[in-house]
Every structure is written in structure tokens, then in C-alpha cells.
């Protein structure tokens, strides 16, 4: 299992588009940008709805259950800050509530070899500092209520 205790992650810097995402994460809530016109969820946040070009977008809370859409196992230690965690799984998750929105994360609390496309995961939160809490993922512990 990857040892994340010695890793120093780059700290996200919220901007005009992304601040509500990070504000929600700080409260332990996953909130994604949603088009108020057509209902489409999207991530990363953007100026317009990528489906219907509406600019009427708001952040709404979503359940943190989803599946691994894609992943990679990082072996390269070019970035020394992550070297102690190598090999580690960086994953892309598609949430049940937000098809088409793709969230990056690490697969925590499991061996990297367990990362596979289609496996069920759930969000957990990793506090980086007083301002920023990072959404992360682990294998789902409860059956999803789809």
C-alpha cells in the first residue's frame, strides 16, 4: 500500500470558477457545477455548460459514489514530493450522480494493484490545511443505492 504520509501535495488555488467546489470540500461535501438550464453536471468547472452553452451554472451537492473510469499506476519518481508513495494509483472517477463529469483522485486504503476500470469507489476527504480539503477515493464500503 502506498505510503502517503511523507507526500507533500501541491495545494490547489481556488479561482472564480472553482471556489464553491473547494468551499464545499472543506465542509466534507462534494459539490459539482450543474447547468440550471439543462441539468448537466460537469467537472472541471467551466464558463459555460458544455452541453447547452448556458451560463446559468450553480454548484450542487452530489453523492460521492461512483466507478473508476480510468487509472494509471505511477512508478516514475521525477517529482520527489511523491517519491515515497510510488507506486501509487491515480484514478479518474465518474460519479453515479454526474455522468460525464470526471474527477481525479488517488485510490487510498487499498493496494495500487487493485485499481481496475469499473470498480466501485466512494469519496473521502483529506485535509491539506485549514483552507483546502481534497476529495479522495477508496473502494465503496456500502452498496450504492442506485
Amino acid at each position: 500500500m502506498s505510503d502517503w504520509s511523507k507526500v507533500t501535495r501541491p495545494i490547489p488555488v481556488p479561482n472564480e470558477w472553482t471556489k464553491p467546489f473547494w468551499d464545499a470540500a472543506k465542509r466534507g461535501v462534494l459539490a459539482l457545477q450543474r447547468c440550471q438550464s439543462c441539468g448537466h453536471f460537469q467537472h472541471p468547472p467551466y464558463a459555460t455548460c458544455v452541453e447547452c452553452i448556458s451560463t446559468d451554472l450553480k454548484f450542487e451537492a452530489v453523492r460521492g459514489a461512483g466507478t473508476i473510469y480510468a487509472y494509471t499506476i505511477m512508478y516514475h519518481t521525477g517529482d520527489k514530493r511523491f517519491a515515497s508513495a510510488v507506486p501509487y494509483a491515480s484514478i479518474i472517477v465518474e460519479l453515479d450522480d454526474a455522468p460525464g463529469a470526471l474527477l481525479a483522485g488517488n485510490l487510498l486504503e487499498a493496494p495500487h494493484t487493485e485499481a481496475k476500470v469499473g470498480r466501485r469507489v466512494e469519496v473521502i476527504f483529506e485535509k491539506l490545511n485549514d483552507d483546502i480539503t481534497l476529495p479522495q477515493f477508496r473502494f465503496a464500503r456500502i452498496a450504492s443505492a442506485e
Binding site: V7, T8, R9, P10, I11, P12, V13, P14, N15, T18, Q42, H43, P44, Y46, V50, Y69, A70, Y71, T72, I73, M74, Y75, H76, G78, D79, R81, F82, A85, P87, Y88, S90, I91, I92, L102, L103, A104, G105, N106, K116, V117, G118, L128, L134
Partner: protein
């Protein structure tokens, strides 16, 4: 069909030395390649009246210094002091293929007669892709905290999705790496000229970002290549046999930056560019005699073969087996060795090889009866462009 098909041709090509370390400033590499391309055409430097490039250094976390880590149009203008310069451009999207297409348009518009396009690539000291410093801004705020650095990991995640959705085996990629390295042995300009690669070397090599091992990634190098383009009527008066441009396209699909892992970003990028190219040229994949498909990471070839229409989605790793991509195969592929063989110089070398093959100028790697040549000059995602060159205008 495109009314301007076969009205522009490639006449000359040039190469600098390709080295691992940046011993001399990049500007010197670019100058060597440009001078060689002009000489190859049988022209004088003073004949050149158009300049185009895409200068970006694709590494992250390094300072760009013109003449050292990039070679801009301004840098080239300063060096060459061209007396009749009438047109120049430096593009910001679709990589070097975009610069090439702008030069084609300028020639058709009649604002220049002989245009030079170059691509110069620097290998910075230290780690090529450095994650942002202590803070992750912009699109990186959603990726860098999780250890996503350069484009390699971005492409790796899409590749695992492709592999597992299609029940495919990454070990089949050994065929691509080994075949291209064999082609490289016919290209004295290439970084890996003289260095063979076996299937065992590929299968035993260290992982970088699974599913990519070392030999799925092109090696960062310092070097430059250049090409001279002119109108078809002028090209016929020059020394080399012209390679006529029958059509081109660029990707028309773009997904929000930072949305990594999306296969559609590659597939729709590639198919939109290829569709324009097939329609403008009047050809289809079955007409193609030889193909160069960008391979900065091996999976790019997979997305290219599928999105351009050479095979169905999910089939590309089977398509490249059984000798099909050998020099005498059904679809000789990356016949100059690809970026995996030459080192990381981006897609202009693919364009050069596409042109050389229909001009019968590819030396010991020449494909027999290469009349129609296809080029996918960048990864179909973000920077994708496609081209068709032909031996005979039509």
C-alpha cells in the same frame, strides 16, 4: 474535394543532429535544419520569403528562453536576415501541423513563394515534467494534488480505459515499439539509430506510468527538423521530386482543460481532423500506401489508427500485428522510426517522412509504390492535424 489539392508541395527537408543533452543553443540546431532544407531544395536562403513554426516547449516547470529552449519566428528572422521576407506566423494551437497548414494557406494566397517551417525541441536539464511548485493553479488544481504531472499520465489513464474496455493486452504494444525501432535503423538522423530493441527489452523494461513502460515514451532530446514548401508549379522546377499536398485537416473537438482520462477527447479529435482530410483529398483509409502516425506516447498510434479510420475502435493492437506495419506490409507505419525512434521532435518529422515516401527519397526504408501517404502529425487530442501527400497530382 478541395479545389486547392496538389497546389502546394514539399520540396526540401533538413535535419540537425539529435542529441540527448543541450550542449549548444537550440537556435543553432534550428538554423542547421533550415539551411539543410533550403539546400536540399536547391534554393538559396535569400529565396525564402515565408517563415512558420510552433515554438512551444512541452515540458512543465521550465523557463522558456528564446534561442535556448525555444526558437521563435523572431529568433529565426534575426538569424536569417531574409531580404525578401513577406510573411510569417507562429501558431498557438494544433502544434507544428498548424504552422504547416498556415504556410500552405499563405502559399495559396500568394503572399509568399518559398516558406520554411521548422520544429526545434529542447531537452531541459533535470526532470522534464515538473509538477507545479507548492501551489496548483488553473486546471492543475484538480490534477496535480493527486500526482498527475505531464501529459504522459494523462494519456496513460485514457490508455487503461481503452485496454480494459476492449479486453486488450498491453504486451501487444511490443510489436509497435520493436517494428518502429527496426525502421529507425534505416534513419541515420534518428537518436536510436544503431540501437536495436528486442521484444524482451520492451517486455522487461521499467514501468513509468502503467500501462506505459519506458519504451512507450519518446525520449526527450535536443534537435530540429525543417521543411521547405512551395507552390506546385515552382516545386516542379526544383531539384527534388515534389510531394504534393492533397488535403489536410485539424481537430475540431476540444474538451475542458483538466478533464483527463476522456477517450472521446482523443477519438473525436482524431476523427474530426481525418474526416476533413479524407473529404478534401477524395481518398479513404484503404487508398493509403504508407502512414506516419504521431507516437510521442505509443497509445497515440492506437487512437490515431482507430479515429482516422484505419481500423475499428478496440482493434488497433491487433491491427499492428502479423507484419502489417513492416516496410513491406499492408500499411507500413512510422517508417522513419517515429518519435519513439528519432527522439521527441514532435510531428514535423512525421510530415517530412510522409513527403519523402511519395518522392521516392526515403532511402533504404523506401516503401515500394508509395503513391498515397497519410500523416497524423500530433496526438489526436488537443493538437491533432492530419495530411495526405501524393506522388502524382490529380
Amino acid at each position: 474535394m478541395w479545389e486547392n489539392r496538389c497546389k502546394v508541395a514539399v520540396s526540401g527537408v533538413g535535419f540537425s543532429k539529435v542529441t540527448r543533452s543541450a550542449d549548444i543553443p537550440l537556435a543553432a540546431h534550428a538554423l542547421t535544419a533550415v539551411k539543410e532544407a533550403v539546400a536540399d531544395s536547391g534554393l538559396q536562403l535569400a529565396d525564402i520569403d515565408g517563415l512558420a513554426t510552433y515554438p512551444e516547449l512541452p515540458a512543465t516547470g521550465h523557463t522558456e528562453v528564446d534561442g535556448i529552449s525555444i526558437v521563435s519566428v523572431n529568433c529565426m528572422m534575426t538569424m536569417l536576415k531574409l531580404p525578401d521576407l513577406g510573411w510569417h506566423i507562429q501558431v498557438g494551437t494544433v502544434n507544428i501541423g498548424g504552422a504547416m497548414q498556415q504556410a500552405v494557406n499563405a502559399l495559396i494566397a500568394g503572399v509568399c513563394k518559398y516558406a520554411v517551417v521548422w520544429r526545434a525541441m529542447h531537452n531541459p536539464r533535470g526532470t522534464y515534467q515538473n509538477l507545479p511548485g507548492a501551489y496548483a493553479q488553473g486546471a492543475a488544481q484538480f490534477t496535480a494534488p493527486y500526482g498527475f504531472g505531464g501529459p504522459g499520465q494523462g494519456m496513460a489513464v485514457a490508455y487503461t480505459r481503452w485496454l480494459e474496455r476492449h479486453n486488450q493486452d498491453r504486451e501487444k504494444m511490443a510489436t509497435l515499439a520493436v517494428t518502429q525501432r527496426r525502421h529507425t535503423q534505416h534513419n541515420p538522423h534518428a537518436y536510436f539509430y544503431g540501437t536495436p530493441l528486442s521484444r524482451e527489452d520492451y517486455l522487461n523494461s521499467r514501468m513509468v506510468a502503467y500501462p506505459f513502460c519506458l519504451f512507450d515514451c519518446d525520449i526527450p532530446v535536443q534537435g530540429a527538423v525543417a521543411i521547405v514548401l512551395t507552390t506546385a508549379d515552382r516545386a516542379r522546377d526544383l531539384k527534388p521530386r515534389p510531394a504534393y499536398l492533397a488535403g489536410y485537416g485539424q481537430r475540431l473537438h476540444f474538451e475542458v482543460a483538466g478533464r483527463i482520462g476522456s477517450l472521446s477527447n482523443y477519438m473525436e479529435g482524431g476523427s474530426s481532423s481525418a474526416k476533413l482530410t479524407w473529404e478534401r483529398s477524395g481518398f479513404s483509409p484503404k487508398d493509403v500506401d504508407v502512414a506516419q502516425i504521431y507516437d510521442g506516447f505509443s497509445a497515440s498510434v492506437i487512437y490515431g489508427l482507430e479515429s482516422y479510420g484505419f481500423c475499428k475502435e478496440g482493434e488497433a493492437l491487433d491491427f499492428i500485428q502479423d507484419g502489417r506495419i513492416e516496410l513491406n506490409g499492408e500499411l507500413p507505419l512510422n517508417t522513419f522510426g517515429g518519435s519513439l525512434g528519432t527522439g521527441r521532435i514532435h510531428g514535423l518529422w512525421h510530415i517530412i517522412e510522409g513527403a519523402l515516401q511519395v518522392s521516392d527519397r526515403a532511402g533504404s526504408r523506401q516503401v515500394k509504390d508509395a503513391n498515397v501517404s497519410f500523416v497524423g502529425a500530433s496526438a489526436p487530442i488537443v493538437t491533432g492535424t492530419t495530411f495526405i501527400f501524393v506522388r502524382d497530382p490529380y
